[in-house]
Amino acid sequence: MYPSDYRYTKEHEWVKVSGDTGTIGITDYAQHELGDVVFVEMPAVGAKIAAGKVFGTVESVKAVSEIYAPVSGEVTEANALLSATPETLNTDPHGAAWLVKIKLSNPSEASALMDAAAYQAFISEKEASA
């Protein structure tokens, strides 16, 4: 379910690091909790985002939720697919529906995040207590 080469946050974002590029998205758990996604608000190319800070919003039929940056860097690309078909976030959150690509300013930040097993355990615990 959760790709083993991604890193995860407690706010349910993921990041995939390759070299100095980070690809950021939200997890399958997050999309499921949000429900039908109708709009995604993303930063402009060139914007600087900081780990732990809000960088965009996802709007579903139920609510508007903040997206927190898992790692810091400068936005190099925002996923244009999501402005036309935001519902892709519900069908392919770990793949086609990535949100932004950034040039990492501190690649070591990712290692502090959860790996797939830890994240799976984290959400299992959440679901058990719910």
């Binding site: 709009f39 608000e41 709007e59 579903s60 039929v61 139920k62 609510a63 508007v64 903040e66």
Partner: protein
């Protein structure tokens, strides 16, 4: 809502339930010196008959039979009894904000129709379900422009209604927004050259009212291109909606904020009115309030939903687009009904009547020696004239003739003393206009 009377026994029961020895005890956290020691000074209870007598006496104090030439943001227009009888239906009158929106199909349909009419009138693509009033809608438009551009400076026409400006100042006092004013020329229109000189790449919005406070129509296309050249948004505020029956809608604007009072709402001491905010579809996510949409249900039948509400304060609290996007649903419904009764042709005819009467009144006034039109720009149903004497003095005399004269512009603009802002709508007859002009001629002919 039921009125639930309570006596000593009920009070005791409630105090026991919360474990308080007395009502005074409930206020013990308020320091002694701030507590009221004596009873409130309220009149003694009255019987039903006494209350009826009391209000009859108050009603008899009302002045009747006066002809008014006041406008300046609040307009006297004919209203149909149909509007009042429809909005007083219990289904509409008693319902509050539809938090479980889709249960209230009738309410949503009414909102949807209102939004559609507002888009048709303003030339915009989307309208919300209504705001508090024209002044707060104008302010919300400015805040919206700030969010959309990420800029924090605003250029506001000096000819924006001074009270709208006050509301804007109150809202933005602690928001770090810098507001600069742009004056007007001899036409009464915004000084476009000054605007070009003042606008920078840090300007979020240019705010202009049309017809403006002096009744003058602004050159919207030109102002829009000046604003857009610097990446700023053009906010157009409209206090007199009836003008849209004759004037080209401000299609070049990015956000239109309007007061809906002219469409079926009585003047009644300044409210409640209905604020309109309409914009381009691409800006809809930053528009405050809610939006009703038309859709089909699972069997293909037409139905209405709250399409956009997720950024409202009851869902998003501190991160809502606005925390004061109170929806004037009942007033918006009155606007909807009034406009449907008028129809497209009716609105055009109404606007034409207003133009004709205002023009006639100005012509009559200009025949009087010493009376001059102040601004040369095109106007709708309001205009400013300059008198050789104080407007307040003239008005005091006019009152003796049961005429409520023009608004003294000097009360709002210190450089516009001796100028009166007249409003002439379809509610004033030709004979009344002639009587007013004759009275002013007599007043000015008398030695001071």
């Amino acid at each position: 809502m039921r009125y639930l009377p309570k006596g000593a026994a009920e009070r005791r029961e409630m105090l026991d339930a919360v474990g308080a020895p007395s009502i005074e005890n409930l206020f013990s956290s308020i320091p002694e010196q701030f507590r009221l020691k004596e009873p409130l000074r309220l009149p003694a209870a009255m019987s039903e008959q006494e209350i009826i007598e009391y209000f009859r006496a108050r009603a008899a104090e009302n002045s009747v039979g006066y002809t008014s030439f006041l406008g300046a943001g609040v307009y006297s227009h004919l209203r149909s009894v149909v509007t009042d009888s429809l909005i007083q239906r219990g289904e509409f009158l008693t319902s509050y904000t539809p938090y479980q929106a889709e249960i209230s199909q009738g309410t949503l349909q009414a909102i949807f129709e209102y939004q559609t009419l507002m888009c048709q009138l303003t030339g915009m693509e989307v309208s919300n379900a209504s705001m508090w009033d024209g002044s707060t809608a104008t302010t919300e438009a400015v805040l919206m422009a700030e969010r959309l551009t990420g800029r924090h400076r605003v250029l506001v026409a000096r000819s924006l209604h001074p009270e709208y400006r006050q509301v804007l100042d109150t809202y933005t006092r602690n928001l770090g927004l810098r507001i600069d004013e742009i004056g007007f020329t001899g036409t009464g229109q915004l000084d476009a050259n000054r605007l070009e000189g003042a606008i920078t790449s840090e300007t979020a919005a240019v705010v202009v009212q049309s017809p403006n406070f002096f009744g003058i129509l602004e050159q919207i296309p030109r102002l829009a291109s000046v604003a857009h050249a610097k990446g700023a948004l053009l906010v157009v505020s409209i206090t007199e909606g009836v003008s849209l029956g004759a004037v080209r809608p401000p299609v070049e604007a990015d956000i239109v904020a309007m007061e809906g009072q002219s469409f079926g709402l009585p003047q009644s001491y300044g409210g409640p009115y209905a604020g309109v905010i309409a914009t381009r579809e691409k800006f809809v996510r930053q528009m405050p309030g809610r939006l009703a949409g038309e859709t089909v249900d699972s069997t293909g039948k037409r139905g209405y939903v709250l399409t956009l509400a997720t950024r409202e304060q009851h869902i998003r609290r501190e991160k809502a687009t606005s925390n004061i996007c109170t929806n004037q649903a009942l007033c918006a419904l009155a606007v909807n009904i009034h406009l449907c009764l008028l129809g497209k042709e009716g609105l055009k005819e109404l606007a034409a009547q207003n133009i004709a009467k205002a023009r006639f009144a100005l012509d009559e006034l200009e025949k009087i020696r010493g009376v001059r039109r102040s601004f040369s720009g095109p106007f709708f149903n309001e205009f400013v004239v300059e008198f050789p004497r104080s407007v307040k003095m003239i008005n005091a005399e006019l009152l003796k003739h049961k005429i409520i004269g023009p608004l003294p512009a000097g009360s709002y603009f210190s450089d516009l003393t001796k100028r009166g802002l007249f409003c002439v709508t379809e509610t004033v007859s030709r004979a009344e206009i002639e009587r007013m002009a004759a009275a002013i001629r007599d007043i000015l002919a008398k030695p001071i």
